[in-house]
């Protein structure tokens, strides 16, 4: 099975770059991986290190492990340390000197940056090692007359811009659900319907996702949510995906590195036509007598078994959905739920959660109003969760100044079994 602890071959991993960009790559035992302008490195150099390790590209496509993207206290010979330990400390000191000051900022731009691009090239060539990047940044700061007079905000931006440009560092992370979501958000927010990590987390918690559960899922994120649920469940339980096209879009599973058998055991797929008209869509199949199969030619036999499996798979998922009693309905979908829910509410077991994500509160509002007339879903409410990250430098604490506007909303209710004919509430105003 895949490793959750160490960087291993034949596995997808996350490469986090100084630009705050991230990449997903599949590692082999060897080969070169290019980070574009950041350089190239040989895969074998990173294998065996624990996930989370940061590296810096040095000469000959080699890497050396370093402590973190901005910190260099570990893995560096004593004598180098003073010179190397600049980044984080310099940053902190500079922040301190600047005193969150917007007092002395002039029109800072390329003109007061005293290093010419020729000088930069010279430094790049002179320094044989990866420290070039670090040194260039130092010199730029030193040469930048107005640097400590910039606001903290523009300093941050400035240093980040410079770091992105010059540092040849990257870290290698385990590809968990959060990382895959982050990757998808950076690539195309709309493809995951604006869903934030905290909303996905809320979905799974309110959906009571755990090992051994059997979930009914609509997932228009290309399988990102599916991936995160599978991580949580680690092979135990099932997820039945309802999809609207011929084939489900669960492209995210290509990153999962789970054995095919595990995927087949855990993930079932069914399309809407099969959900809506199960009896029509079941495949008429009768096993042929054993001797007839035995007498088939090899390619015919293969075809026979393939068809047999397909028929069994389809019929079995149709039967399973018809039986229902799922442990949750979890949906991240742009389909109109007022049309979807009449089909799916009966499939959920008593007292199990129904959790519906949408990018827009107004859509969930419609659903909540719709559900208020359906006594089978108890106490549905709309939840919003927003994480606010801080600049976490002691002495310089403040929330990050800006963030992208996204996140979505979650409707959570509980499937219940009302008494036929209804009961009268009392004393509930």
């Amino acid at each position: 099975c895949k490793s959750t602890s160490h960087i291993s071959p034949d596995q997808h991993v996350v490469l986090r770059l100084p630009s705050e960009g991230i990449k997903i790559i599949e590692l082999r035992n060897s080969g070169l991986i290019s980070l574009g302008k950041f350089g190239c490195f040989e895969v074998s150099g990173i294998l065996g290190y624990p996930f989370g390790q940061t590296f810096e590209i040095i000469e000959d496509n080699k890497v050396k492990p370093i402590r973190s993207m901005t910190d260099q206290t570990v893995d560096i010979p004593e004598e180098e340390e003073t010179e190397q330990e600049i980044n984080k400390d310099t940053l902190t000191q500079l922040f301190t000197n600047s005193a969150e000051n917007n007092q002395n900022i002039i029109n800072i731009g390329s003109k007061i940056q005293k290093l010419t691009s020729e000088e930069i090239d010279k430094i790049k060539k002179s320094g044989a090692s990866s420290d070039a990047g670090q040194k260039i940044i130092e010199q730029i700061i030193a040469g930048h007359g107005g640097f400590d007079k910039k606001t903290i905000y523009s300093q941050q931006k400035y240093l980040k811009r410079k770091q992105q440009k010059f540092l040849k560092r990257f870290s290698v992370e385990y590809l968990g659900g959060s990382q895959l979501l982050e990757y998808s958000i950076l690539r195309d927010l709309q493809k995951v319907l604006d869903m934030s990590e905290e909303s996905m987390a809320l979905l799974m918690t309110y959906g009571n996702v755990r090992p051994g559960g059997n979930y009914l899922l609509i997932d228009e994120t290309g399988g990102v949510l599916l991936y995160a649920m599978m991580e949580r469940m680690q092979g135990q339980g099932t997820i039945t995906i309802i999809h609207e096209n011929e084939h489900p879009n669960i492209i995210a599973l290509r990153y999962s590195d789970y054995p095919i058998e595990l995927q087949e055991r855990m993930v079932k797929t069914i399309n809407w036509l099969q959900v809506v008209e199960p009896e029509n869509e079941k495949i008429i199949w009768e096993d042929l007598p054993g001797e007839e199969v035995d007498s088939m030619k090899s390619n015919k036999k293969v075809q026979y078994y393939r068809r047999q499996k397909r028929a069994n798979d389809i019929n079995s998922v149709i039967d399973s959905v018809s039986r229902g009693n799922f442990d949750a309905l979890i949906s991240v979908s742009s389909l109109d739920m007022t049309g979807v829910l009449p089909y799916l509410i009966p499939k959920i077991g008593g007292s199990r959660p129904i959790v519906l994500y949408n990018q827009f509160k107004e859509v969930l509002l419609d659903i909540q109003h719709y559900l208020s007339n359906d006594k089978r879903v108890l106490a549905p409410s709309i939840y919003e969760s927003r994480v606010r990250p801080y600049q976490t430098i002691p002495g310089r604490l403040h929330p990050m100044m800006t963030s992208r506007g996204y996140g979505g909303y979650v409707l959570w209710g509980t499937k219940v079994i009302p008494v036929e004919g209804g009961l009268t509430a009392v004393g509930r105003g």
Binding site: V74, R210, A379, V387, L397, T414
Partner: protein
């Protein structure tokens, strides 16, 4: 009944969360002969046995009803009497996700507190995972231990009475099946303590050196964050980041659509009633006013009349003065969302950090 999975039919001895209203969920252990009494009705346990989880159940004499819910960490959290501050689902869900806690994870939690997050961790890590939870305060420890036992959360969870700041996390005798190579080997750490910066110094020996370990400290004050961040830096943790989670709940409501045309009709109606009033007045008055102006003179409220029939019916487009039920089909409504009446504007600051195995 178990927090590790669902069952369908209620048996004697099962824990049932009796859902009375959104703000009132009463946990009961089903026992023959007992009765749940509330001002929303009375409910015999005997009748619950054999019913399905999720079923609606009528009260004695058809008075009131409840829903019989299966426990889950989230419903349990809502049902909790607030003995202490609770880590609510907005926070707990994010922490679990960000620390990548999943089936099989080995988790350290201190302090146990109300044990609400403990339930959530135990559910998520499943029977393959292990949760080591510490509680300093003895009465609360005893309460939590009893509760975990009652809830059957003992197969993957070990609760210890301990001040982890002073005495650390190490245990001399880890029960069989809980140790890994003789140790705790935590992969994820959650600290909800007044002084986490002291506790983090004691973590080294109980976290695994086999993989990256994630940590989250949960502190209400910003100055606690400051101290914690410094301690984490000193101890060699990296990727330190503090965040806040802001959670909100919204409800669907309806707001009446009040058109200006109706306002105008109503004003005309008032005017015409007044005019009729004046005409009535004229009829019974020897000195009727002469000028037209009086007809729209609204400075004085018209005197009450005894001849009621002269007053045309009042036009009442928005149910003014009457109690209109939200959504009443005689009026137009617009769908709106209303935020919960009391918002949790702050729970705590969440400081995350990671420790890489020293290679």
């Amino acid at each position: 009944m178990s927090f590790y999975g669902y069952k369908d039919v209620i048996e004697e001895g099962d824990l049932v969360l009796a859902f009375i209203s959104r703000n009132q969920i009463k946990p009961i252990t089903v026992k023959r002969g007992e009765r749940l009494n509330s001002r929303y009705g009375h409910f015999d346990h005997d009748k619950m046995i054999g019913m399905k989880y999720g079923q609606q159940m009528g009260g004695i004499n058809d008075y009131g009803y409840i829903h019989l819910l299966h426990p889950s960490p989230e419903l349990w959290t809502i049902s909790l009497p607030h003995r202490t501050q609770i880590v609510y689902s907005h926070d707990s869900s994010y922490i679990i996700q960000r620390l990548n806690v999943c089936s099989g994870s080995r988790v350290i939690e201190a302090g146990t507190g109300s044990a609400s997050f403990t339930h959530s961790f135990a559910r998520t890590i499943g029977l393959d995972g292990r949760l080591f939870t510490y509680e300093f305060h003895e009465p609360r420890y005893l309460e939590a231990r009893r509760e975990l036992e009652e809830h059957g959360i003992t197969q993957n969870t070990l609760i210890t009475h301990r001040d982890v700041c002073n005495d650390g996390f190490d245990m001399e005798n880890i029960p069989q099946g809980f140790d890994q190579e003789g140790g705790i080997q935590g992969e994820a750490v959650f600290l909800d303590l007044p002084s986490p910066w002291i506790a983090v110094k004691n973590l080294k020996s109980v976290i695994t050196n086999k993989k990256r370990v994630g940590l989250c400290c949960f502190s209400p004050c910003i100055e606690q964050v400051d101290k914690t961040v410094k301690a984490l830096q000193d101890e060699g943790w990296s990727n330190i980041e503090m965040v806040e989670v802001q959670g909100r709940r919204w409800e669907a409501r309806r707001e009446m659509v009040r058109s200006v045309d109706d306002v105008v009709k109503r004003l005309k109606n008032i005017q015409s009633r007044k005019q009729m009033g004046i005409e009535g007045k004229r009829a019974s008055n020897v000195n009727p006013p002469k000028r037209k102006i009086d007809e729209v003179d609204t400075d004085e409220t018209p005197e009450p009349f005894t001849e009621k029939p002269l007053q045309p019916k009042e036009y009442n487009p928005f149910g003014k003065g009457t109690r209109v039920k939200e959504g009443d089909s005689r009026f137009d409504w617009r769908q709106v969302t209303k935020i919960e009446s009391e918002i949790k504007t702050h729970t705590s600051y969440l400081t995350f950090a990671y420790m890489n195995p020293s290679s």
